[in-house]
């Protein structure tokens, strides 16, 4: 887990600081120096438009990580909000939200993600919408179940008996207690969403050119991978590494945040 955190932090720092660290601009085309192998000027070589692969990897990581992160965070926020409201207040709110959760859980997420992204057309916004719509229910369900469990927990009732208001109980007790499971779900989801974005890119539903994004880069490189395998291997390995690190961290968090009674936070 420590290794995973270190590696991920390094990659993320590198990518987020792309404007500072990338040796070239990601869209600096040079048709006289296409598909050149690794060299001193271009550590990983150049792509089919003579752009520096390393720089594009760094910039691409920025897009991939930011998009995945923002998307997952939005999903999380929606799930947290609906789940906590449903779980805590119960009644009609719960029935309504639970109905929606059951509906969205009863539908095959990937197919719907594809259909929605496909309908809305290529671009970051469609990916965002498609992922949020198809993933929020998982968060909401976990959050709702946890909130219900917490709400029923004697200590919450005890707090109510002590005279604590709903706001206090939700904000100071329920939500902080939800963070553990939600964090685990978040990391595990983040990995999946990175892969989903890559898959959508592969199908041509990725970011708009000339944005570098790992999934798009793999897709662009497909035509060239025999002559210049690194064009496809490098972004592929990047996705694999990030997804693996994120998953490892999620696993580690799950073990670490396991409840005192040994109950695993999530299946």
């Amino acid at each position: 887990m420590k290794v995973a955190v270190t590696v991920l932090a390094a990659i993320a720092a590198l990518c987020l600081a792309a404007p500072l660290v990338a040796p070239y601009a990601p869209d600096a085309i040079d048709m006289t120096d296409r598909l050149s192998g690794p060299s001193f000027e271009h550590w990983l070589g150049t792509d089919h438009l003579g752009r520096d692969l390393l720089s594009r990897l760094i910039w691409g990581g920025r897009s991939t990580i930011l998009l995945a992160l923002i998307t997952t965070l939005a999903t999380l926020a929606l799930g947290l909000l609906t789940g906590a409201l449903a779980g805590y207040f119960g009644g009609l709110v719960d029935d309504g939200i639970e109905g929606l959760v059951l509906l969205f859980q009863g539908l095959p997420g990937l197919s719907f993600m594809l259909a929605i992204a496909g309908t809305l057309g290529p671009g970051a916004l469609s990916i965002f919408i498609a992922v949020v719509i198809t993933s929020w229910a998982d968060f909401a369900r976990v959050v709702r179940a946890e909130t219900l469990r917490l709400r029923e927990a004697p200590w919450v009732e005890g707090l109510r008996a002590l005279g604590a208001g709903h706001g206090r109980v939700l904000a100071l007790h329920i939500v902080p207690n939800l963070l553990g499971p939600v964090l685990v779900l978040f990391t595990l989801r983040l990995g999946r969403i990175v892969l989903a974005i890559a898959a959508l890119s592969f199908l041509g539903l990725g970011l708009q050119p000339p944005n570098a994004e790992w999934g798009v880069m793999i897709n662009d490189a497909r035509a060239y991978y025999r002559g210049a395998p690194i064009l496809m291997l490098a972004p592929g390995l990047c996705i694999l590494t990030v997804a693996l690190c994120v998953n490892l961290i999620g696993d580690g968090l799950r073990d670490r945040l396991a409840e005192p009674d040994g109950r695993e936070v999530l299946p």
């Binding site: 997420g109 694999l240 998953n247």
Partner: protein
């Protein structure tokens, strides 16, 4: 039993209803005027406003949305998903023709995933914290982290092109199914590995296992009957649910391996903005998903005496 299945079916109905709503909404929010699209497809290069208006009336697009929905739903309920704007063929017939292929693919993937994931996960759970367990957990995570299309291209390169053990693409014999099913199964195999490990760990930690051992029962019986029979239900539920994930994942696999299933059709539909096809895809996968979840529930019902008898007692 019948009552249980009926109750489950009742619960599935709103889900399917929701799916129709989503499918219909997709058709509505999709950019592009379906009437103009239909005209252009049928050979009008630049349809006039009048022609478009006539087409809108013909397609019923000038009615209020709820009315359109109800009439569309009526058609859907009778199995009529409309005709493809692009090929003018019946969407439901096309899906019916392609569904067996996708189901065969998904079923092969499911079998592979179970064959790979279940025994290894159970073994990892039984010998938890052993070297094999640790290695297995990393392998499972790696499998979860590998982009499917990347794996597909690599497998074709190695097993079809270089070694020539298996065909690159297409349908035909069972050998054609191996690579696509393998790609499709990786994610699920990994999840199953993790889940069955957790299930095994939890089952072995149960007090009834210690009690069974204290009675001197053979270890194999303790593990297989006392621990696993009870753990079967969550595994079955999850396997039923994964089927939906496999359906979604089949899209990429079908495109790469040239398998004419519903996923390939959906991608074509998406790129041609053939919205009856997209709607049909949404509804078909939802229906299949619901059916498999239902089947999993029924299977749980059969293996779990508490549900079986509890239902009778209540």
């Amino acid at each position: 039993m019948a009552a249980y299945v009926l109750r489950r079916l009742l619960l599935a109905a709103p889900v399917l209803f929701g799916a129709t709503l989503i499918a219909f909404t997709l058709g509505v929010v999709a950019p592009g005027d379906p009437a103009a699209g239909a005209l252009m497809q049928s050979g009008f290069d630049a349809p006039t406003q009048a022609e478009i208006a006539a087409m809108r009336t013909e397609l019923g697009l000038d009615r209020p949305l709820p009315v359109q929905y109800v009439s569309w739903l009526g058609n859907v309920l009778t199995g009529d998903f409309g005709t493809s704007i692009y090929t003018d063929r019946s969407v439901s017939e096309e899906f019916a023709r392609r569904l067996p292929t996708t189901l065969a693919l998904a079923a092969s993937a499911l079998v592979l995933a179970i064959l790979i994931g279940l025994p290894s996960g159970l073994a990892m759970g039984y010998w938890a914290q052993s070297f094999g367990d640790r290695a297995g957990r990393v392998v499972a995570l790696a499998l979860l982290s590998v982009p499917g299309f990347w794996l597909a291209l690599m497998l074709i390169l190695v097993f079809a092109e270089t070694l020539r053990w298996l065909p690159t693409s297409g349908l035909g014999s069972w050998r054609h199914m191996i690579l696509p099913a393998l790609v499709l199964s990786t994610g699920m195999a990994a999840l199953l590995m993790r889940l069955s490990r957790a299930v095994m760990l939890e089952a072995l930690a149960g007090a009834h296992i210690t009690a069974a051992r204290a009675r001197g029962l053979a270890e194999i019986r303790v593990v297989l009957i006392h621990a696993l029979k009870g753990a079967a239900a969550p595994l079955i539920t999850v396997i039923g649910g994964y089927f939906g994930a496999i359906l979604g994942g089949s899209v990429i696999v079908e495109v790469i391996f040239a398998i004419p299933g519903i996923g390939q059709y959906a991608v074509e539909g998406i790129f041609r903005r053939d919205y009856p096809v997209i709607q049909g895809y949404v509804l078909f996968t939802a229906a299949v998903y619901v059916v498999f979840n239902l089947a999993a529930d029924v299977a749980c019902f059969v293996v779990n005496p508490q549900l079986r008898l509890g239902a009778r007692v209540a």
